[in-house]
């Protein structure tokens, strides 16, 4: 194990139960909150009557649209200011009381009168209303390169199929929570959020107050995966309104059932994909058209077909995205947004093509490797996808792949499959502050939060490396709007964003100390050349001469309290880029299909990933494996369903919504392929999303290899294999 594999910064707190999450912050006079929900899927609220609830013991107050009306209109306040009901189980009021059970009793006693209207409870009921959104994330919804229609008409072989993916729920193990209070006109908000600064900005907008009067704190986050963002704001605002109304601190925690409805989902997709090939296996045309669900109160579309524009070399590519609005919960990004569903279709179709054309699936992909970004017409900043294929195949033993349908192990029919994965490498603006104390202690601060993925550890390591000190000398502070501005946690970009800011701050400090030492007669480094000095083992040394001293001594002699510097870095400027940056991977799986029962088990997985320079191999491996397991969940387990008649979710518990458990897990072999990337600061690319995409198709392809059945809809369940669906 390399010396970069330092354990997680905050691990000791987490293994002893001393880690305090934001919903656990103690507050004197705390009131507990419960949401009042309505069962109708569409309609209007006529009245909310709290007279009975007021008589329940411990009741403090209720807030509803009447209280939310003064908030400024925005997408974040629409659901709580309006009387319109957009989905079943939508909250229309919040009750606070002395204890949680009193709050829940009171919430049940609130009488809500509604006027129901006809609802659309599934995409299929409203396909005629489908429309093209302006953008899918930062990409145009529609793309055309060359003439895909003509190319597909002329192609020697065409693979054309429909692929479908289900609505998935993020389900971080920690449900959303807020503990908030007001100090006069100032608000203090402890909440589990992936964006403390975004949350502060939205509070400032909604409550019409200066951001400086709001403090948002999210020091430890119990997972997020995309759902601890904007959809939480309306419910958090209700808690803040209740705190204001009562003058007491309020805590709201979502129930697991509410996590199915209130804070987002991975959107359901239907994808029509056609690949055209020449007989020698070269792609000549691609058409990828996606229809996906959004709610009636907000618009969101994953960039599902976008990656089809980039992954393979092909002169003629057309893609498009359509949305259908339904009275179901609103989708938001979820682990590997866009790439996970989109690559399921593309990489399944590539496997179907390999079978049709008589190519090995790896060879077909290598043959169609894109040696530059054909969509933007510029080079890759780095692209080691072919190394991923090669190293992954080698480690997995792909060359020994048995003929389709021939491998058996007892009652298990064995199948092998593989697929590619990718994710863009982007950065946001960030500031990092570093303080050095005269005793040699280092403090590094950034307001960005750690979703659990390792930002504390990464920032501590980057800082320690740059200053040449052991990591245990560095204290890291994150997740608080009083700290320097940092990015939101999403799109796998936090580490890449804070790296250059931390590098700038530490470079300033090194220059200052070095100058102090050179000018200090009492220092053994007096009069040395600046460019000859380095920071190592807590000391500043001359590389050529054998002299040096601990840099803390330099500070101590000056009698300074310490030094401080701030570093700043900018966001990726997409239009100005001279090269396109993505991370890549290839994933290989072996599955077994129980011949009698149709059960599918993943037996082993090898993932080879190339995403720039790896700061901490131990945590990188952990993130890849976590991502792969998320992908296995999407492939084999996870689906939430709406009752078409009522619009309600079917089964709102973790017993009904299947996610992978310990007993489902295979062995993982992870190959980390490191890249130098001259276009990226420190060669850092994000890694978080790569593992979650690709494996869905690899599993579907392995199912075909095992039993000859092509399943084009996720999740792949027993009934699909047994052929009863």
């Amino acid at each position: 194990m390399s010396d970069r594999s330092v354990p997680r910064y905050e691990a000791a707190l987490k293994v002893t139960g001393r880690a305090a999450y934001e919903g656990e912050v103690p507050a004197v006079g705390l009131l507990h909150a419960a949401l009042v929900e309505v069962p109708i899927a569409r309609g209007d609220v006529v009245a909310v009557d709290a007279s009975e609830a007021e008589r329940t013991s411990g009741f403090a107050t209720m807030v509803s649209y009447a209280d939310a009306e003064p908030l400024k209109p925005s997408p974040a306040t629409a659901l709580i200011r309006d009387r319109a009901v957009h989905f079943a189980g939508q909250p229309v009021a919040l009750v606070v009381a002395d204890t949680l059970s009193a709050a829940r009793d009171a919430a049940r006693a609130v009488r809500v009168t509604t006027q129901a209207r006809p609802s659309v409870t599934h995409m299929a009921q409203a396909l005629n209303t489908a429309y093209v959104p302006a953008m899918v994330g930062r990409f145009p919804s529609v793309s055309n390169r060359g003439d895909a229609t003509a190319a597909l008409a002329d192609a020697d072989r065409v693979v054309r199929h429909r692929y479908e993916t289900a609505a998935n729920i993020h389900h971080p193990l920690e449900p959303h929570a807020v503990v908030c209070w007001w100090e006069g006109d100032k608000a203090v908000v402890h909440t589990s959020t992936q964006a403390v600064f975004g949350t502060r900005a939205m509070i400032a907008h909604a409550f019409n107050m200066p951001p400086a009067d709001i403090r948002v704190i999210s020091r430890l986050l119990g997972g997020g995966f995309g759902c601890k963002g904007q959809l939480w704001w309306p419910w958090m605002f209700l808690a803040m309104l209740a705190a204001k109304k009562t003058g007491r601190p309020v805590r709201l925690e979502l129930t697991r059932a509410q996590m199915f409805r209130l804070v987002g989902r991975r959107q359901e997709t239907v994808q029509d994909l056609a690949l055209g090939f020449s007989t020698n296996g070269c792609l000549t045309g691609i058409a990828h058209h996606v229809t996906a669900q959004s709610s009636t109160h907000a618009e969101y579309s994953d960039a599902t077909a976008v990656y089809t524009r980039y992954l393979y070399a092909c002169p003629n590519v057309t893609t498009s995205h359509l949305l259908v609005r339904t009275n179901e919960p609103q989708p938001v990004p979820m682990r590997a947004p866009g790439t996970a569903p989109g690559l399921f279709a593309l990489e399944s179709a590539m496997d179907e093509a390999a079978v049709r054309l008589g190519f090995d699936p790896v060879d077909l992909r290598v043959r169609n490797f894109a040696d530059h970004d054909q969509e933007a017409g510029r080079p890759w900043s780095s692209n080691s996808l072919r190394d991923c294929y090669c190293i992954g195949a080698e480690r997995f033993g792909w060359a020994r792949r048995p003929a389709q349908g021939t491998a058996v192990d007892g009652r298990w029919r064995i199948g092998w499959g593989m697929a590619s994965t990718m994710y863009p490498a982007i950065r946001q603006a960030a500031k990092v502050r570093v303080q050095l104390a005269a005793d040699g202690a280092v403090l590094v601060q950034c307001g960005t939060q750690d979703m659990g993925s390792g930002t504390y550890t990464a920032l501590g390591q980057i800082t320690a490396d740059a200053l040449g000190v052991p990591v245990d000398r560095v204290t890291v502070e994150l997740g608080d709007t009083v700290l320097p501005d940092g990015p939101f946690s999403g799109g796998s970009q936090v580490t890449a964003s804070i790296f250059p800011a931390a590098a700038a701050a530490t470079a300033k400090l090194r220059a200052t100390i070095a100058a102090m030492a050179i000018a200090d007669e009492a220092s053994p480094l007096a009069g040395q050349r600046l460019d000859d000095l380095e920071f190592r083992d807590g000391s500043i040394r001359s590389r050529s001469g054998n002299v040096g001293e601990p840099w803390a001594n330099v500070l101590a002699r000056k009698g300074t309290e310490g030094l401080e510097a701030e570093g700043e870095s900018g966001a990726t400027q997409h239009p100005d880029l001279t090269a396109t940056s993505m991370g890549y991977g290839a994933v290989f799986v072996e599955i077994g299909v129980n011949a009698g029962l149709g059960e599918i088990r993943v037996r082993r997985v090898c993932g080879a990933f190339a995403a720039g320079r790896i700061l901490n191999p131990l945590l990188a491996r952990s993130q890849y494996v976590g991502g792969l397991v998320g992908g296995i969940g999407m492939a084999l387990h996870e689906r939430t369903e709406t009752d078409r008649a009522t619009g309600r979710m079917l089964g709102e518990t973790l017993a009904d919504y299947l996610i992978p458990t310990h007993a489902d897990m295979p062995e993982f072999d992870i190959a980390l392929i490191e890249e130098d990337d001259p276009h990226l600061p420190g060669s850092v690319k994000g890694i978080g999303m790569l593992g979650t995409a690709g494996i869905q198709a690899a599993i579907a392809n392995a199912v075909f290899h095992a039993v000859g059945k092509r399943v084009r809809s996720l999740p792949i369940r027993i009934e699909d294999v047994l052929g009863r669906r």
């Binding site: 987490k14 293994v15 002893t16 001393r18 971080p172 119990g222 979703m451 518990t653 897990m665």
Partner: protein, 158 residues
Amino acid sequence: MAKHHVQTTINGDPIEFLCDTEETLLDVLRNQLNMTGTKEGCSTGDCGACSVTVDNRLVCSCLMLGVEANGKKIGTIEGLASGDKLHPLQQKFLEHAALQCGVCTPGFLVASKALLEKNSNPTETEVRYWLAGNLCRCTGYDKIVRAVMDAAHEIRSA
């Protein structure tokens, strides 16, 4: 309604508390006793984050009422380390990076300790199935199995 007076032992310390009939042991631990190391992931017995031991039996504290703790010995994550010295399981979780967000971690540790007390030399399959009731959404599990196997080995050879 009158509150119930409950006398119990938590991590070896005698503890008394008052609770409502419908309050779960998890509510009491987290909200009254400020012992927030035991986590709440679902409150329906599906995730294992709330795992504690009651007279050395592993239970989901979200499925047990506070009043049922009367006269019982409760073990929680806060009792795993002795002072500053981590339990071998805690140490191995740390070394193997067997945690990310950490919300499942206390439940895994309490459940693993209960396993090793019953079976000091479990097979990998026994570990996986024993821990199948503890959900983790971040780590991908394999590091957890390795940490438990490693800790078991260390405890046996100690």
